[in-house]
Amino acid sequence: MSAPVETDVAIVGAGPIGLFAVFELGLLDLKAHLVDILDRPGGQCTELYPEKPIYDIPGLPIVTGQELTNRLLDQVKPFHPSFHFGEMVAGLEKLPDGKWKLKTDAGTEIIAPVVVIAAGGGSFVPKRPPVPGIESFENKGHGVGVHYAVRKMDTFRGKNILIAGGGDSALDWAINLAPIAKSLTLVHHRDGFRAAQHSVNQMRELEKSGKVKFHVASVKALHGKDDGHLSGVTLAGADKSEWHHETDAFLPFFGLTIKLGPIAEFGLNLNENLIPVDTAKFESSTPGIFAIGDINSYPGKLKLILSGFHEAALMAQAAFHICKPNEKLRFQYTTSSSNLQKKLGVTA
């Protein structure tokens, strides 16, 4: 664990609103650190619809989720934000001097007078199949039980592996793990896949050679040994017939979904999983904690990216007064202020 980092603002979420907050804060000389559970910026824009066009960003008649993210990253580059990707916020604590300490599950600690929650709908987490008792087979150690990701392939060497799903992750891992597994079985609800064609071809080859067994089936129940480890599953075919299948590991790959996650445990006032804020500063009922974008609520709230941009601008003004209580905020325009242009690196 490294020493805590001190900054002006800790931002939870590196989606479009968290990114634009960096810009608005930067114009006021406030530095930011961002934490995001995903391994890259963009939030829903890049996770859910990177290729889908967005038509309601002012001034950009058509832009994809990925392009918008790229443009925002360009826009905030002069302010050198620090990103902590692949980390989930794990705790928020008020220090005796009034600052906040935000901790992540990777051990990062960020100390800042202002925390901005720009977490959209919460954290992206793997979809968990609705099989009774599945939780009890999670976190049982390397290569056994239920895993939603493969961290080290070698931990699955010599194991009987069951993969469920029909997307790229399911097929990629079936292809990659088949050579080292004792047996590899893939189940999916149909005899077709949404994965890249070359992956589908490779999987079909492995199926032909007997290295992968494929069934149109789904997992209905999980069975454990006396020591609590997974021993097998009940599979159900398209015709509703059921059979037992022995396995050491079960890897479901159905993509990600959004859960509020640890923000619920921060002691903030929540209303239906949203953080109520005022519309002058977008501050929560806890001083110094702001909420912008889809995660907040106020009368008339519209869950639009453009609303979040506006919220970021007003939040930054309020954050300035907290971070620099003895300084006067000078309101300036980027078109005319040589001072702002210098910060943006655009002066001749």
Binding site: G167, H189, R190, G192, S218, F254
Partner: protein, 102 residues
Amino acid sequence: MKIVATDRNGKEHSVEGRDGWTVMEILRDAGLPIAAECGGACACATCHVYVTDGWYEKLTPPSDAEIDMLDMALAVEPTSRLSCQLVCADGLDGIKVTVAPE
């Protein structure tokens, strides 16, 4: 037109549909637990419903994009659809759907 929707507790709700709206929008606005994370872009599979009582066969078949996206849904059955892809129309008056498990 009416949509008869069964929630995850087995409770039936009769909801008024609106011509041209998607079933997802109607269920979401009626307070049923439809996450619809992507907002109706056929990009997340969190508006998954089962279309029951013979209504599945009366629907326009799913597009390739919807069939693909259903691969990311949990507990898919032969009558699974993404409700953001079902558009309300008079012909669907009385359609029965069940919200799929989370």
